[in-house]
Subunit: 482 residues, 2 copies
């Protein structure tokens, strides 16, 4: 952009330019009636501050990150509408952003774009206990929604690993999963309704407050997981649930992939754990190196499970899982219904990614396969690690087939970087060959775009038709997601 | 249509006309390569048989039903593609149909349309036990999928009241609910992937086999509940779950709406029943008249709940619910962990609709409200019954706020029919006024079209944009759903 063009954009964003108030302003809560001097909220142009909005947490250097012309930080739906209309008028792409904790580059800036950061829209608009729902602004952090629910004696289920800092808006953009989604579902399952600002600046409400409903198309599910490419979420009505009962925990070690696979298969076919996780030998060794847990490093796979049926039922449940583990060949299977002890058993799993990060630069993958293909996926990962001479530590959600094989590499060694890229591509292709998906919960962003066509096949065009119908000018997050 | 035009259509459908094989035939499994003489499957033109395909189970006389020019009953995806391409070429609307058990007129024929009945596509294409999924053709009956899952030691959760005769394709078209969806989710929650024939005749695969995935937009959720307006489902991959544990049952009677509402609120906030139902005094009296159950007719509301936590845990769970019922003012609360006795307790609920049908013609409504608004909905229904001088029996899914107030009327009394229409409209508006939805699980079809704009508001246009993007000529089920 020329300096003059940038100045005109900034003037309009601030509501002082000639263009302000030109929007059609018909959306509910728009507040931008013709002629009003509405701003887009706090507008940032300081280069140092802009730099901190260039990228999310995707492997730096492996996905591009541009420089935005400005960052706006609105506080209201009307300010979001003003920013979107202004950007549209100036032909400037809009990149929405929550906490910037994404792992696929979905929130990375594009050169000359407007970053629309929802970080200041953090209100709990309504918490309706009797209806078990909460309406929140998109910048509210997941854990804060959890806290608000808890104060009402209720529970917000989705628990991505980033729950202490990622936002509900970001969770919706990626349809974030987490540990508990094996039992309680992903973000989409908790989503009832949305207010969304469309590419033409209108704010519309989609979905519902009732728990069940089939009037019209399920547009809330369509927006969920669309990675900011279809509209800007300005309000979300999320479903709450009764607080889970007390949980019991199992940790079991297996000498082979096969024996672990057999135990996981038995558990998924016969029980409903609230958590079912695994980590492989490379990850175990990394954890042991960083923070010794007394883990047996000769173990091939550790499996973790929890049951939250409450009290003695939960313990009986994990005890039964432990017996299945032993029948499958586990060398050790420990259970407990003490929460503190359960946390200790799960500590190794929680440290998995951090421990791998301690070994070097990491490229975290996020593939998913049908449940029956988990053993084949784990075997294939070992083959890929050997073939490309890279270190891959794998951990992930055994209960839904979503695995995070993580390549540890030396980012200063060009040859290692090249091998890492090759191994990464091989991992994604392996998942597809097993009937799986290129991304289970992190999103396509920029990181997985090259592989998307292989997964979507002829339907890819259908996805593009939806994008074109809602955002014909390609205003929102162009080049990301689909 | 002229006779000549009809003859040309029928020739093309049979694969003997000049137009056959003109489709582009690029879809997977299409089999209609250029020049091939593909038929659209069995083609029916016998007027008596056509008549049986004119309408579904929506209140006859209250929604229009046209006469189709023909019915095709394909057995393969390729035959569906051929039928769709032929209809498109001839400018003839396509009305898809499963078992015809819908309750909103969604499968009602339009004059001169082609009814595409999927009743012969009944194969279980694949049952992958280790991956807990089944791929089936759309004409398979829900109960048959349940049976196939059971043979693998697994369970298919969605259980609409029509499960013994409704099809998976129809269940997907309406996003059917059921009794167990309070715990296990609706049809959409069990849907992983689809093969869909689009308006241009291509067959595309959307969704996935993995349990979790976020590549591209959630088009499977978009198709689910779209009432045959976006494409024809030719194959569906459904998620299976471990078989539920043994269940215990509670039945409780309440002297007032308020006391029942209080008990329901406590249960929904504090427990996870696998069934939570209610029926009102009018329905109780109808059941008692048809098949005396020894129900106390002075009772205002009966509440039914089940817990399937297994054995003693399930019984403890419903015993706890019974105590909450008593605290709220229940006059009686009975629990049992004997399945036969549980079925007897639930018998009155299962007979509800049949019993109301025994009293006269019925117009079944299907509104949904946020959980906290159930008492207000029940009170409002009583007011509407009194104001419009109609008999309304209400039963439904207390656990998700989806209620079926059912107007019983004399269809031969024009004044009664007029009052019924007015009361029906008042019921729908009441649900909207309470922040609810015009349809919880039966679909918009024709029955709810007049009310849809009130629910969707400004977003209605967005729904139409999606329809236009996928079916620009309005080939599929025009005038239904959105």
């Amino acid at each position: 952009m020329t300096t003059a063009a940038t100045d005109r954009l900034l003037d309009d964003l601030a509501g002082s330019g000639p263009g302000s108030g030109q929007g059609s302003g018909t959306g509910p809560g728009s507040g931008t009636s013709a002629g009003a001097r509405t701003s887009a909220g706090d507008v940032v142009v300081d280069p140092e501050v802009l730099a901190s909005y260039r990228h999310d947490q995707a492997a730096p250097g492996l996905v591009p990150a541009g420089t935005p012309v400005a960052v706006v930080r609105p506080r209201t739906t009307a300010e979001v509408q003003h920013a979107v209309r202004t950007a549209a008028r100036h032909g400037v792409a809009v990149v929405p952003r929550g906490a910037g904790s994404g792992l696929s580059g979905g929130a990375n800036a594009i050169d000359g774009c407007l970053v629309l950061s929802l970080e200041r829209m953090t209100d709990v608009v309504e918490l309706d206990g009797p209806s078990l729902l909460a309406t929140v602004q998109p910048g509210l952090v997941n854990a804060q929604l959890g806290e608000a629910a808890r104060r009402e004696g209720l529970h917000y289920a989705p628990d991505p690993a980033s729950y202490e800092f990622s936002t509900i808006g970001g969770n919706i953009a990626t349809n974030a999963g987490g540990l508990c989604c094996v039992k309680y579902g992903v973000t989409r399952d908790a989503l009832l309704g949305l207010e969304v600002v469309l590419a033409d600046g209108r704010a519309v409400r989609i979905g519902r407050r009732a728990r069940k409903g089939v009037a019209g198309y399920d547009l809330a599910s369509l927006i969920c997981g669309s990675e900011g490419t279809l509209g800007i979420v300005t309000e979300a009505t999320m479903r709450l649930i009764p607080p889970p009962r007390s949980a019991a925990t199992l940790a079991a070690s297996f000498p082979t992939l096969g024996s672990a696979g057999e135990a996981i298969a038995k558990i998924t076919r016969s029980a409903t754990p609230s958590v079912l996780e695994l980590m492989d030998r490379t990850t175990i060794q990394a954890v042991e190196k960083m923070a010794p847990q007394g883990l047996d490093e000769d173990v091939d796979v550790l499996v973790f499970a929890r049951s939250d049926l409450g009290g003695a039922s939960a313990l009986r449940d994990v005890d039964q899982m432990a017996r299945w583990c032993e029948e499958a060949g586990a060398t050790l299977a420990i259970t407990t219904d003490e929460e503190a002890e359960g946390r200790m058993l799960m500590a190794a799993r929680r440290l998995a990614y951090t421990a791998l990060e301690h070994q070097g630069a990491t490229l975290l993958d996020d593939v998913g396969v049908p449940l029956g293909k988990i053993p084949a996926l784990l075997e294939g990962i070992e083959t890929i690690a050997a073939r490309h001479d890279v270190l891959i530590g794998t951990f992930g959600h055994a209960g839904d087939g979503n695995m995070h094989p993580t390549i540890v590499y030396d980012q200063h060694d060009p040859d290692a970087v090249a091998r890492t890229r090759q191994a990464f591509a091989a991992l994604v292709r392996l998942a597809l060959a097993l009937g799986g998906t290129v991304t289970g919960e992190h999103g396509v962003g920029l990181l997985k775009r090259d592989f998307l066509a292989d997964e979507l096949g002829e339907a890819h065009e259908l996805h593009r038709a939806i994008k074109h119908a809602l955002d014909p000018a390609g205003l929102f997050n162009p080049g990301k997601g689909i």
